[in-house]
Amino acid sequence: MGIKINDQSFKKNLKKNLNDDFMRAAMVKAQDLINKNRANVLSQLGDGNYQEWQKLSGEVRAHAIENLDFYLNQFAENVVKNGGNVFFAKDAKEASQYITNLAIEKGVKKVVKAKSMVTEEIGINHDLIDAGVDVKETDLAEYILQLDDWNPPSHMVVPSLHLNKTQIRDVFAKNGYSGKDIPEDLAAFARAQLRNEFVTADMGIYGCNFAIAESGAITLISNEGNIDLCTSAPELQVAVMGMERILATYEDADICISLLARNAVGAKNTSYTTFVNGITEEGAADGAKEFHVVIVDNGRSKVLKSQFKEVLQCMRCAACLNICPIYRQVGGHSYNSIYSGPLGVVLTPLLAGYDDFEELPYMCSLCGACTEVCPSNIKLHSLIHEHKRVLAEDKKASTFWGAGMTGAGMVFSRPWMYKLGTGVAPLMTKPFMVDGKIKRGVSVLKGWTDKRDMPALEKVRFRDWYTSRSKGGNK
């Protein structure tokens, strides 16, 4: 799939999603539920001083990023000591090719995959399928999306949030399900379909929440247990990680793991937290006999070089999505990226370029709620603001923002123009008024009036009213 999820225009995507009432209600429900649980578990973390933990987590993530070369090298050495192999991939193509070639070389017929953003990013599924390999996504949501003709994920933690149970029933019905749209029954169908796949697969592919440099461990956090099954049965296993996923020590991992599930799903812990350290002992009946870690750059080094480097601290918990008022209204697909919400707004244009994603930084009201919750202590709203600045200064801003804001800038910076403009504004906006409201603005007003009405401008300007009042007038 890659980072971009479709080729439609930003506006078209947005319009489609704004008309999807179920999806929008689902976003609201998810945000409300997760945030309530999140607040509850965070208040029970130690003495409830979340900011202290947030600061610590920011420290350990920043330390790892500042010394990324050293820790990646140490990690790679340790993976090899644990009997594994490491492939450093500069881009998505290299990463996907390495894994696909490995599958071909080893005669792999079936792969079981556990949910991972980076494997979406490198588009491995389609390369494997093109090579004749049967790929089974095993995370329940990803399994649903795969059966739904690779419908893209809309949330980092709950990828199928945009589908309702009847839609899921219909997807399953095309694949042999004959029951009702009851979640338990649907999950039981998935279970029956998938259980055997784990033990008959030749290869397991999974992501990595954190990589521990001091031991070479890959850390995986999940509720479903599918990751554990992918790490248990297949003899050939591949872990794929973005290069920024590194942590120096187990002690650092403790801090980050303690915050991840709490922020992601509002639970103290997920059912499964797993550390994988390479191949199993000689003679073991299951577990990896051959283990590979693919470390992916794919644009991250460009981010490291930039003023946005702090975003590499992200632990993909989705707390910023879950608090964001814009995400609440537009849903994950509106970002047209596998990375949505405030994190997506910052990260996507950096990894995939402004050309396709120049509108994203404007999917933000700069309310700062994301920064407040972020367990990696990333100042997300400042980074989004920085994107806006870069776009404005590089004159890359979209037609609306570019022309509109340039015009507005010109007017606001010239007193005579401002005076004239505000004086004639009530008259100028008259053609766009219906029932005393401005309904169809142009230029700067258009972005506002596309979505809601604007009150009519007063005939008397505030400055004139104020001057008159100060002089004792009563107008």
Binding site: V86, A187, V265, K268, N269, F275, T280, E281, A285, G287
Partner: protein, 236 residues
């Protein structure tokens, strides 16, 4: 393919070093954490108090799971009887157990008489047995009071699949293995790693397999185990 390879390391790492504006350091001294709130949690608790906390948190997990998780504090003398009861609770069915001499030591030979014992020499047959098992019996290596998690450290005879495939689990939690939280488990893994011991897998488990992917409705047993019972043994 040659095993134990690191491919493309030099160009990848040197690119990062140059972005960071220096050569890769030979050594990095970790600045340490600026505070350690994690050490304050259940600080100074006795083993018995930690067992109480483990049990309390397991009961919270039980409530959240609609009864799919359970926990009992028992004594060693009652272990065999309680394991037998728990192995029958959800109907009869094949049992899989580790190849672990502690079961015999703790008087469980009779109870596990019919169980399939994981035997690595038998290869994939073990995995098939695990797939069909109704019950798995395991022992926690490190137990975390804060989250009521048990830990399995990979070793011959334990069988990774046996820890995830059966429908129901009975996990024996020796009170002596209970620590306050993940912090102490990480300290242990750090010490092991310093000695060059990095077990192939370390699994922390605090519940059953669950998912909220369908309209945020929590469903249980999506892939692996549906039920989990902890038997906290106060004198083990």
């Amino acid at each position: 393919m040659k095993q134990g390879q690191i491919l493309n390391r030099e160009s990848f790492i040197s690119n990062i070093s140059s972005i960071l504006g220096r050569e890769m350091p030979k050594e990095v001294v970790h600045p340490g954490l600026s505070s350690k709130p994690q050490l304050e949690i259940y600080k100074g608790f006795t083993q018995a108090q930690l067992a109480e906390e483990f049990h309390k948190n397991a009961q919270i997990n039980k409530a959240g799971s609609g009864g799919k998780i359970d926990s009992l504090i028992i004594e060693k003398k009652d272990l065999a009887k309680t394991v037998a009861e728990k192995l029958a609770e959800h109907g009869a069915g094949p049992i899989i157990a580790w190849n672990d001499e502690r079961f015999a030591e703790w008087g469980l030979n009779d109870v596990l008489n019919d169980a399939y014992v994981w035997t690595d020499e038998k290869g994939r047959e073990n995995v098939d047995k695990a797939l069909k098992a109704s019950y798995g019996v395991c022992i926690s290596d490190i137990s975390l009071a804060e989250t009521a998690s048990y830990t399995v450290i990979d070793k011959l005879g334990k069988g990774r699949s046996s820890n995830f495939l059966p429908l129901n689990y009975v996990c024996i939690v020796p009170q002596s293995t209970i620590v306050p939280r993940l912090t102490q488990a990480m300290q242990k893994l750090h010490e092991m790693s310093k000695e060059g011991i990095n077990p192939a897998a370390i699994n922390f488990i605090c519940g059953s397999s669950s998912s909220s992917d369908i309209e945020l409705n929590k469903v249980w047993g999506v892939h692996g185990p549906i039920r989990l019972t902890y038997l906290i043994v106060s004198d083990l």
